[in-house]
Symmetry: D2
Subunit: 352 residues, 4 copies
């Protein structure tokens, strides 16, 4: 049984990791760290978890400890800190032979420090680690993840958009010159801290684009799409805040490089993702929506062609907190440790 540690356990991604790892069949112990709530129990911070640690057989006592204690106790360390703080912990884990999975942006850009520092305003603390780290999108990098000791867990929007565009780009069906990623996220994507834009009376009943042309997931999307295409992809990304809790819906547009109808394009997608346990290519007539993937690790994809006959329209959807964060991190752990890739991720999305 594995001993897992979570740094930043009281943020939303940390809380979701906690919930999922408590029910992971291979995880025997769970240690939690939080700067803001050190010394308290996570059951006080998240009353939905009341009794999860304190009652009956458990994987720990739910106490929020200093970071160093959690790292020392754990074989696998999940880090969910603000951007720019992970390098030292990653180094310590690497040295101690632990698996380090980072949910911030710190290890998403590999050796490309220039892009990271431009968009996140900080240099790499330990550049040599970034050459070793792997971008943790299993459908793209499964083999590399299996050998990795440092995994940069992808952003939520990039996970969703990249899975939606992967077949079209890899198979040369999409013109890489100009790809549009128009995506919307539920408000959990903004994290746990209250703010004006997440204040219920202003977020409810409202769809709001934000950071148009300026969102930090833009360069991450460009990088992963280019890797998928094997050539530079000109992508334009526009995020929206949608009045819902969980979920991302990404509507992706590209010019088809050859005549193909929706059925043909869908068949290419279905064949491409054959065998992927968390990607569901939907049948004709269905559209991907966050409704059908909530609380699961699935990415649903629906494939369409525009009325103009020359535009591919692919809708992809994930739960931003699961496949877009905590679930994918666990999937990465499973791969890196040689476990069943779906261990702890069996939850079916509820219909309502």
């Amino acid at each position: 049984m594995i001993h897992c540690g979570i740094i930043g356990a009281t943020g939303y991604a940390g809380a979701e990791l906690t919930r999922l790892l408590l029910r992971h069949p291979e995880v025997g112990a769970l240690s939690l760290s939080s700067t803001s709530f050190e010394g308290q129990s996570i059951e006080e911070v998240y009353p939905n978890l009341a009794g999860a640690f304190s009652k009956g057989a458990s994987k720990g006592d739910g106490r929020l400890l200093p970071m160093a204690e959690v790292v020392a106790a754990s074989e696998v360390v999940f880090s969910s800190l603000p951007h720019g703080l992970a390098d030292e912990t990653a180094a310590a884990c690497l040295e101690a032979g632990k698996l380090f999975i980072d949910l911030s942006a710190d290890f998403r850009f590999g050796a490309d420090e220039a892009t990271f520092s431009k968009w996140y305003g900080k240099p790499y603390g330990r550049p040599e680690l970034h050459a070793l780290s792997v971008y943790g999108l299993p459908e793209l990098n499964r083999a590399r993840i299996a050998k990795a000791r440092i995994v940069g867990n992808p952003g939520c929007y990039p996970t969703c958009a990249a899975l939606g565009l992967f077949p079209a780009l890899r198979l040369g069906l999409a013109d890489p010159d100009w790809v549009i990623v128009d995506a919307a996220s539920g408000v959990t994507g903004a994290g746990r801290e209250p703010s004006r834009s997440t204040h219920y009376p202003e977020a409810a009943d409202s769809l709001s684009p934000y950071k148009v042309g300026e969102h930090r997931h833009g360069p991450e999307i460009a990088a992963v799409l280019s890797e998928m295409a094997g050539a530079p992809v000109g992508s334009v990304f526009t995020p929206h805040l949608a009045p819902m809790g969980r979920g991302i819906v990404s509507t992706n547009y590209f010019r088809l490089t050859r005549p193909i109808d929706a059925a043909g394009l869908r068949a290419e997608y279905a064949a491409f993702y054959e065998g992927e346990r968390f990607v569901r290519v939907l049948p004709a007539g269905a559209c991907a929506t966050n409704r059908n993937v909530r609380l699961s690790n699935y990415c649903d994809i629906s494939v369409h062609v525009g009325a103009d006959g020359r535009t591919g329209i692919v809708v992809s959807s994930v739960d931003n907190m699961v496949k877009g964060a905590a679930g994918q991190a666990i999937q990465n752990m499973n791969i890196a440790l040689g476990l069943d890739e779906a261990a702890g991720l069996a939850a079916l999305p509820p219909a309502f």
Copy 2:
């Protein structure tokens, strides 16, 4: 491994049973019936379940069969039909030695046919069965459920209100003369059929009382409260439709029979429910809310005393589709079959 059958699998309670039983560790096979969708796969009706039957190791093929086939194949039959249709199937199951768990109102009134027929407009089809059946509220009737072959699964509002009032009534802390149950349900409580009041533009952003003084759960609440008190309880029940998906919040008022403060009343509740795995009595300062029980089988209870010092105010909350329907039905099955009472019900409520 158990073979379960669900009659009425495409209604909301049936769909929730399907989702939960697919992950129940003691259930090996699942047969589904639906009148409206016979011959289709449940994956078509509920695309959230795509692949749950058709991909990988499964508990069946998800095909929607005629009722008789499902009954014949199953050791445990869950029935979720409109009220008044269960008696014949119950009789057939009883004769064949199967466990029958009914999610309609048909077996909630035991031998009291008068009340059932007054509120549901039908006589009992097989009155003799109702003398044998047990009202499936485990916290009240666990020992009887363990021996039952026909279980009447309680209504969602009655489950929530009764668990909130049980200690006060049983311990004589509440004056039974006048108890107020003011409760609100999410819109899933109205079931799968679209209607004016569940049309998004009219249900959203609106809190609406309905059937004031006329709701069928009123007499069921009165009956269970009276059984708990060991004497007639004068209860008034007002339901509201709240703009949320899942969950019931019941705010229950009663006159205290002796001076006691909130801490004292809370201590009585905590002691009373000691050992109950699905009831959580909250600490001082917390209020029960559907947020913290969603998608779980928990009933959260917060205990308060009014500013007047003489009014007990107990807030109880359940997920109407889990503890208020499908989850409690599974809990009843577990008890009746001698399984771990929590088998298949381990899901933790998500924080968001």
Copy 3:
């Protein structure tokens, strides 16, 4: 044409006053004050108002000025500051012959300083003013408001509950010994400042009781109900936060003092409120809901009797920002200035 001033114009009540007074036919000029945003335009703080001042014929320039300037310029001063800060401004207005309408709690308790200071933690700054002030519930105090120079605008919950109970108490139909007010408010009731409980991912899809037995509107409700009854009323008040923007729904319970059915009770209510332009007593079969009063100054009331035949259940609903705050403040101004009571309040509630 009247020159109105708003102190605290960038809070939610202030913003709503601004929106309504901009379209009030008797208001010719509007001066606004805000501590937090002094020097900015209200159009920057509230982009929904873009152009309302800066484009075309207008009632000012929308600039947020120091409080003293606003008071000096205005004939009517609406004050919407945090509790405990209004006395000095009220005194200045009184001396200068201006009408002062306060939307905080400061002038809601009249001469009863003890209750105010117990619940709000402050003594009166100018006790003599409070003997002069009038509680601004027009249906109760219209004649006194007509002569008032200082009006304490009622709280949102008290407005809603009191209008729902007024006929029953005044007509002696309700036993005053024990009245239950179970009410829910939309999240705008919490004001403009973001917080944990108003954070969209935690407020959405959730109904949460709060401050049970401890809410400051409890004593205000007790006071106004007692004034209505002409005798002390034992009231218990429980507020809930509901996942909606605007609106309060108050479900009020009382013991009937004599046998009367729902039709009879409804007829008493209808006769009592005959001639009130903002109270609508609904016909049999309808239930009051915030949906039908949103963005209007209406209070809808539906009248029911419990299945026990001895409990009156009256549901009342207002828009907390209009009849529960800004609209009622304007109604009070209209009365105090001898204008048409409905001037500026003609907006019909939208259906959706």
Copy 4:
């Protein structure tokens, strides 16, 4: 004072027309027709309107009459029937010298019967009328509307997208070869009839693309954009259903034909729409959202350039029931009758 008639008064567009015309200062009488509710009062069908006709000074009695009576009584006829039913009434109005404003799709395609019949499955009943009719988008066709007797009120999505793209296309800033219109609508856009996709438990908390490549507003958008550009525009349109009541947000993408930054593009837009009373071009830093236009006739537009420097991204937003339907219809009436264009449309959008 004008006598207006509404055919199809109990649909959502009809109900919104009723609400707005009741407060239009130049409208003296209002006659209503409904097939489904003939003989009832609209106050029964829409209880938000309780008293609007029956109490005090009014514009009629709210009774729902046969269509012929409404046409006979009215000088201006608004028709909001299902598609394909307007021609005969339009002909009757034309002959009688009445103004006819149609809110269905029947008169949106002018002389292009081929496109209409392809997408709506019906030929024109009276082809000669369509050559006379005007597409009622005032910002494009104001002069023609002023002389029109038959106005085809635009669809909600086309109104929103076209206003967002008009300056870029007319000024030659957008490459017309490939324009992407990615838009989301609140659920009121689906109308008053309940359905699976508008059932609250399935529409809430979910963003769902629908009719991808197949929506009937696609050809209408193509037509109006082409007219704006003076050349064929290759447009791709994807609608989404968003969990909100009112509002459309359209995120529109195009390739810039010459180097220009966001400030420059925004300045072009601001100059282009100078003098338009219902179009607000937002300042830098703001994004258009349905929140800020709700219940008003405004179209808000924010102008951006992608991180690639070559993509124009323009976000436009309207209230689908006002500028996208009833409000624009009234604006068209005002223009056609020579009234103040904003008469009856002065409502400011609420902040919350």
